[in-house]
């Protein structure tokens, strides 16, 4: 059977899993829930592999399967359709593959939960996978939006998973609200598309023969610029770029596997997927691309700076995610679409690995997340230590690990655009190396700085947790080799070739040329050397870390407090909004509307009391009323025609 026809099973399985786990959470034992939860992600993974094989055959044309009419209004018809092409296939593999590993990991990580909580967790995770699959499989922007909203919802549910603690609820709310702000931009873009083009289907807009967008040749037309900028606003919210990034560090309040899945591998990359999918529109609007690149670069650097001084292991990783996302958007902004997608893939592996390893550490430390209280864990947690180390090498961009190749692809494209951007990007990469090795050194090397009771508790995690770590580490090591740039091997950039049909039209429009090979060799060697030097220096500095010296200067303090961005937001937006809410609540709602409603009740009460007095029982007054009534009837009858 053609694997393409089975595509509907891919989102269907997680949905079924969600329902079974959710409804049966009080009945089913934890083992069954865990098995169901993982199985319904594994089967789609197998189907995705089949699809990948089908897609990678020669001469594969983009398939578009429409299931039913979703919205049909007048001339506008938005069917529920799936689109399968190379881009979809890569994302499918990432989501289901990494997702499956994380689900397996969660079975052990969350084993201390109650039975009902365990079921609830896996139900939400499956729902998340379902939404994310819907997002990447969707054949038009509306289906993507359904998935977009769904992952936002699941993010909120999962961040606030331990809802008894109010701080978690606040973090979940923050994530959802900031996502929502971005979603407004997305929605406006969709509306604009409907009104300008009359359709939102990818194949009608983007197909190479007669797509509406592909037929446009004017550069920087206002409609396209507007739509792309609005779409990017949605991506800013979803993928935590400046200025809507503050929710991501707070989202670390959720369980660690959640952070791994949602905030490292999948949800935050939805924005990247969306821009990559709309690449033709972005190529037609270099202004938007410049905006995307600048925001991406700024985010990358600012987040890296903040990460330098954070002491919570998960917060460092969170800011690192924000920073790496900035790199992806930088890549998209300079036209290196396939490089950005490549970075998504490698990031999923090493960031997911980092989060899972951090979870392992937190588990071993009995819930402690402050790295100033850790140290020397490497001796007791060998597997975690080694895999963490591999991930650090990958993220810093040290050859021959995967991060090197993907980051290098982005940075070369940046250099082709402008050398200044390249310098900044390189600076960010060095900062990345710094904070990652600082994190590793403080956690795993040196002497243990925590309490004796914690020291007793340290142990290597169970096999269910370490096997995914190992698998991810292997992937983080070798998957770089599918993206070898030209200088290393002719036709070595397999991923670029694979994705070329998706980006073919964009590459035609964009006018940036590649850089000559000598320059590229120089860049590669220089950056590799710098990164290695910085890594070793940092490792030496922090491996025997003692408590921090007092008296930090002002700038360091600012970094430690995340540049006070949260406080600024609170002051600028949250407080006025709260007072507006309070105003509306007290004056408008309580006095105004309640006043009217209660007033009606009081009025009726009063009126009925007065009316009751009419029934006095006096015959005389009855007579009077009869006469008056008669009078009125006569008047009406005789004098009004």
């Amino acid at each position: 059977m053609d694997a393409i026809q089975l595509i509907y099973l891919v989102p269907l399985f997680p949905l079924i899993g969600c329902l079974i786990n959710g409804l049966g959470r009080n009945i089913l034992p934890k083992k069954i829930v865990g098995i169901i939860g993982s199985l319904v992600v594994f089967i789609p993974f197998c189907i995705s592999v089949l699809i990948f094989l089908t897609v990678s055959k020669e001469g594969f044309i983009t398939q578009n399967i429409s299931y039913f009419d979703f919205i049909h209004v007048g001339k506008l018809s938005i069917p529920f359709e799936f689109q399968i092409d190379q881009l979809t296939s890569i994302f499918l593999l990432i989501i289901t593959g990494v997702g499956f590993l994380i689900h397996v990991y969660s079975v052990s990580y969350m084993k201390d939960e109650t039975q009902s909580g365990f079921g609830r967790y896996f139900s939400y995770m499956n729902l998340f996978v379902f939404s994310m699959l819907l997002l990447v499989l969707g054949g038009n922007y509306v289906i993507m939006y359904i998935g977009w909203e769904g992952v936002g919802l699941c993010s909120y549910l999962l961040i606030g998973f331990w809802f008894k603690d109010q701080a978690n609820n606040d973090a979940g709310k923050k994530a959802f609200i900031m996502n929502r702000i971005g979603d407004v931009g997305f929605l406006l873009a969709v509306f604009w598309m409907v009104s300008s083009f009359g359709t939102v289907s990818y194949h009608e807009l983007f197909n190479s023969q007669n797509g509406i967008i592909t037929s446009i040749s004017t550069i920087n037309s206002p409609v396209i610029v507007g739509i792309t900028l609005l779409l990017f606003v949605g991506a800013i919210g979803k993928s935590a770029q400046i200025p809507l990034y503050t929710w991501l560090p707070d989202a670390m309040a959720g369980p660690t596997p959640v952070s791994a899945l949602i905030h490292a591998a999948t949800m935050v990359t939805a924005g990247v997927y969306m821009v990559a999918r709309s690449n033709i529109m972005y190529s037609l609007a270099p202004i938007s691309m410049a905006g995307v690149a600048s925001i991406g670069l700024t985010t990358a650097i600012v987040a890296a700076i903040i990460a330098l001084k954070q002491n919570d292991i998960k917060k460092v990783l969170a800011y690192s995610t924000v920073s790496q996302l900035g790199y992806m958007f930088l890549g998209l902004g300079v036209g290196a679409y396939s490089a950005a997608v490549f970075h998504v893939m490698t990031h999923a592996f090493f960031k997911g690995l980092l989060f899972l390893a951090a979870g392992s550490v937190i588990h071993a430390m009995g819930g402690e997340q402050d790295i100033t209280k850790m140290g020397g864990l490497g001796k007791k947690m060998k597997i975690t230590y080694v895999t963490f180390f591999i991930a650090c090498l990958a993220i810093s961009g040290i050859p021959p690990f995967s991060g090197f190749f993907s980051k290098d692809a982005i940075l070369s494209a940046t250099y082709a655009q402008s050398p200044i951007l390249y310098i900044l990007g390189l600076g960010g990469a060095l900062l990345t190396a710094f904070y990652m090795f600082r994190l590793m050194a403080m956690t795993f090397n040196g002497k243990f700085r925590g309490t004796a009771e914690q020291e007793q508790h340290i142990h290597e995690s169970s096999a269910i947790m370490t096997i995914p770590l190992i698998i991810l580490a292997i992937l983080a090591t070798i998957c770089g080799f599918i993206g070898l740039p030209e200088i290393f091997a002719k036709n070595g950039n397999k991923i670029d070739d694979f994705l070329s049909p998706v980006f073919a039209h964009s590459n035609q429009i964009l006018t940036t040329k590649g850089i000559p090979h000598q320059t590229e060799w120089i860049l590669v060697i220089v950056s590799a050397l710098l990164v290695i030097i910085v890594s070793i220096w940092t490792w030496n500095k922090f491996k025997n870390y003692a408590s921090s010296t007092p008296g930090e200067n002002g700038f360091v303090k600012a970094i430690k407090n995340k540049f006070y961005v949260d406080e600024a937001y609170d002051f600028l937006f949250v407080k006025p909004y709260r007072s507006l809410s309070a105003f509306l609540n007290n004056i408008f709602d309580k006095k105004g509307i309640d006043g009217i409603v209660n007033g009606v009740g009081r009025g009726v009460n009063y009126g009925s009391r007065q009316l009751r007095l009419l029934q006095s029982g006096q015959v005389g007054s009855y007579l009077l009323l009869m006469v008056i009534g008669l009078l009125i009837l006569f008047i009406i009858q005789l004098f009004t025609k």
Partner: protein, 109 residues
């Protein structure tokens, strides 16, 4: 003699009867005012019977006759009603030693 004078006279008597029924508290006086109203109606009916052009044709003749027969029956009913009504008033007096109609307020509230 135009009919309108009789109509006005009858109306006046009727309204005076209504005013009396509303104003007075003595139940016997109220009863008498009711009789007054009935009589005004009788007067009107007889006046109409005269109005219907007497013997010009059989139809109007029978109308006129009907009117006076009607008056006759009203008188019959009034007589019966008076006897029963007075019996009630006597009972009221016997029970409450007063003939104030405001004592008949069992229908209160």
């Amino acid at each position: 003699m135009e009919i309108k004078w009789y109509i006005f006279l009858s109306l006046a008597l009727f309204c005076i009867g209504i005013i009396g029924a509303l104003t007075r508290r003595n139940s016997i006086i109220v009863f008498m005012c009711i009789e007054l109203m009935l009589n005004s109606v009788n007067l009107l009916l007889v006046a109409f019977s005269k109005m219907h052009l007497g013997e010009v044709n059989a139809f109007s003749y029978s109308m006129a006759t009907s009117a006076q027969i009607f008056v006759f029956f009203i008188m019959i009913v009034a007589a019966a009603e008076v006897s029963v009504g007075l019996a009630i008033i006597v009972m009221l007096y016997r029970n409450t030693r007063s003939i104030d109609i405001n004592f008949l307020n069992r229908l209160k509230n």
